[in-house]
């Protein structure tokens, strides 16, 4: 026990002397979590939470343009900025130079076009119903065209969604005008308001349902992705510290000296792994605590950790820690120099992070990249947290994550063992 305690003490002292390594393991992920969560959260809010800022230029002298603006403004979806002084040609410039994302131009013939079309529809209906009508008012003119300006940085799906929202409100206005015209042409005394309300309000509704278990209480947002994602990245980035630590020991002859001493050399490796496992768990504790206690203070979503399956959460954290330590051990064992360990270790972890969905979630990747992502251990680590946090996952749903991580750990440990054995160190 004395040897094990001494080994652990030595590892802690070495770790504490490695200021750069500590910064990389703790300060870097905190910075990444803060910066990237803030950036992604603002984008997320533009798309999901904030009202969509919409610049509107209304050149329609009739009432329909104004009605459309009122409807859009009252919908709660848009934040309208009216600028009727702008000409259509100036709108592009306004978007480019003033940083606006979307704008809508309502032309002069909007009301006249809608009314004209409503008249045609009304007369056709009356004719079909065998009623008389004034043939002089039957001719349909060209339909007005709204211009939707948008910044090219916006995703196509986003602009299509916004256009569809505007189109649905526009359609409501058009239906209302048709009903008005129909009542007017029929010379009915009744008011058309009730019919309009029934037609426009009583729609088939769509209820959003999240595909997750009851235990999963977290809602997907930038915090729920970035905090676990960058924690995993930081845990694997310990390759820079641990990998270099192992290379230095091998090159300095310390391993050689230890081989001549009584006791098992595996004890030395075990103490090294234990200390770095503790570091990895500490990383989870620190970064997750930041997600829970600090992020809400800077107007970011709080990290929600469902308490439903704590043993599974603990196991996943331990498996990720062990995976990160095993990977660092392998890189440190196979590298010939500290520079090689740092270079290969850091680049490989960045690549694993990129293909594993740390930066961009894998569901947004093309099909072949989704397949490739399965080769990244970071993907399975993140998948473990997703299953636990967002889907309230059970042991059964975690089975592939656990299996993959176990296989990864065993592979790394075997590779390390065979290399140390070939060098006659164990």
């Amino acid at each position: 026990m004395n040897k094990f305690t001494a080994s652990i003490r030595k590892e802690i002292l070495l770790l504490l002397s490695d200021k750069t390594g500590l910064l990389l393991m703790f300060a870097m992920p905190l910075l990444l979590v803060l910066v990237i969560t803030i950036i992604q959260d603002s984008v997320y809010k533009v798309v999901n939470e904030n009202k969509i800022p919409l610049l509107v230029v209304n050149h329609d002298p009739g009432g329909q343009g104004e009605k459309l603006i009122e409807t859009l403004g009252g919908s709660g979806v848009f934040e309208i900025e009216a600028r009727n002084d702008l000409r259509p040609g100036q709108l592009k410039e306004e978007l480019i130079s003033k940083g606006k994302l979307i704008a809508l131009y309502l032309p002069e013939n909007l009301t006249s076009g809608i009314v004209n079309n409503a008249t045609v529809v009304s007369r056709l209906m009356m004719k079909d119903m065998g009623m008389e009508f004034d043939s002089a008012r039957q001719t349909a003119g060209p339909m007005p065209e709204l211009s939707f300006y948008h910044d090219p940085v916006l995703q196509e799906s986003y602009t299509i969604s916004v256009m569809n929202i505007i189109r649905s409100y526009m359609r409501g206005l058009e239906i209302a005008v048709v009903i008005d015209r129909l009542y007017e042409d029929s010379e009915l005394e009744a008011r058309p308001d009730l019919l309009k309300e029934k037609m426009l309000s009583n729609n088939v509704s769509i209820r959003p349902v999240l595909a997750r278990k009851e235990g999963g209480i977290a809602t997907p947002n930038s915090t729920q992705h970035n905090v676990p994602a960058w924690t995993i990245f930081a845990m694997f980035f310990m390759v820079v510290s641990l990998g270099a630590n192992i290379v230095k020991e091998r090159l300095s002859g310390s391993f050689l000296r230890l081989k001549t001493m009584p006791g098992s050399f595996r004890l030395v490796i075990a103490s090294k792994m234990l200390v770095y496992m503790i570091v990895a768990v500490l990383q989870v504790c620190v970064i997750f605590s930041i997600g829970i206690f600090v992020l809400p203070y800077i107007d970011l979503p709080r990290l929600n950790i469902p308490s439903g399956n704590f043993p599974a959460f603990a196991l996943i954290v331990l498996l990720i820690s062990f995976s990160a330590v095993s990977y660092a051990l392998t890189i440190g064992t196979y590298s010939k120099t500290v520079e090689q360990a740092n270079g290969i270790g850091a680049v490989s972890v960045v690549l694993f992070a990129a293909i594993g969905g740390i930066w961009v979630p894998t569901f947004m990747m093309p099909g072949y990249m989704k397949v490739i992502s399965h080769f990244s251990p970071l993907h399975w680590c993140l998948e473990g947290f997703y299953i636990l946090f967002l889907k309230g996952g059970s042991w059964y749903e975690l089975r592939w994550v656990i299996l993959f991580l176990c296989v990864f750990i065993v592979t790394c440990q075997l590779l390390t063992y065979f290399k140390l054995r070939s060098e006659k160190i164990v």
């Binding site: 004395n2 040897k3 305690t5 001494a6 080994s7 003490r9 030595k10 002292l13 070495l14 002397s17 490695d18 230095k248 020991e249 090159l251 300095s252 002859g253 310390s254 050689l256 000296r257 230890l258 081989k259 001549t260 001493m261 009584p262 006791g263 006659k424």
Partner: protein, 249 residues
Amino acid sequence: MINPPVIRVENLSLQYRDAAELSLDHLSITVCKNDIYGLLGPNGAGKTSLISILCGVFGPTSGKVTYYEDSRPMPPARVRQVIGFVPQEYAFYQELTPLQNLEYFGAMYGLSIKEARSRALETLAILGLQKAADSPVMRFSGGMKRRVNLAIGIIHRPSVLFLDEPTVGVDVQSKHAIIRHLKQLSRQGTTIVYTSHHLAEAEEICNRIALIDHGKVIAEDTLEHLLATHRQPDLAALFIGLTGEEFRD
């Protein structure tokens, strides 16, 4: 009076993987108690390979090494407890202080934490490192690092000490401190097996010398007998006379 043997090496051979020739070729030597036994030879002669096998870093291809304690063969586990090893490389943690290094390696030799600390302080004082005991070794000069390397090898007071070129690249003062302490250890009963390219140094401290070349012992005896047998004035002349002037790069 001849002291009892401590190490007996019989027909030891070593062939590294993918190597065409033997690094050690049926080599046999006997090291007796209290010897300061010099293993001398040109580069690539097999000195470091022999010391590595004697310390148990790796095993031989063939042959046998036997350690004795009170004239009885020692089990391998016991051997690891009684030997000390000072390799050519700085085999310690440069980020740690000498005290931390000594405490760690002392504990790995089985000393209690308290014992390791007291012996570490004592050893550092002997080797003139007490003032630097709490500074990271990475800031030390080459000579100081060599002394730390030696201190780690003797923290557990080994009865057999192996030193692989312990004074290479150090200043005169450090070399003097190391040699003086090796002599003191010998007087206290430690058997020392030592390799060096410093022949004058070997002449000064070794009571027995084995000249090794191409993995074989080409001469082995006390210095006086070797010089007399080969009719050479000093060790350097004997060395060149037996190993030739050809470069061994």
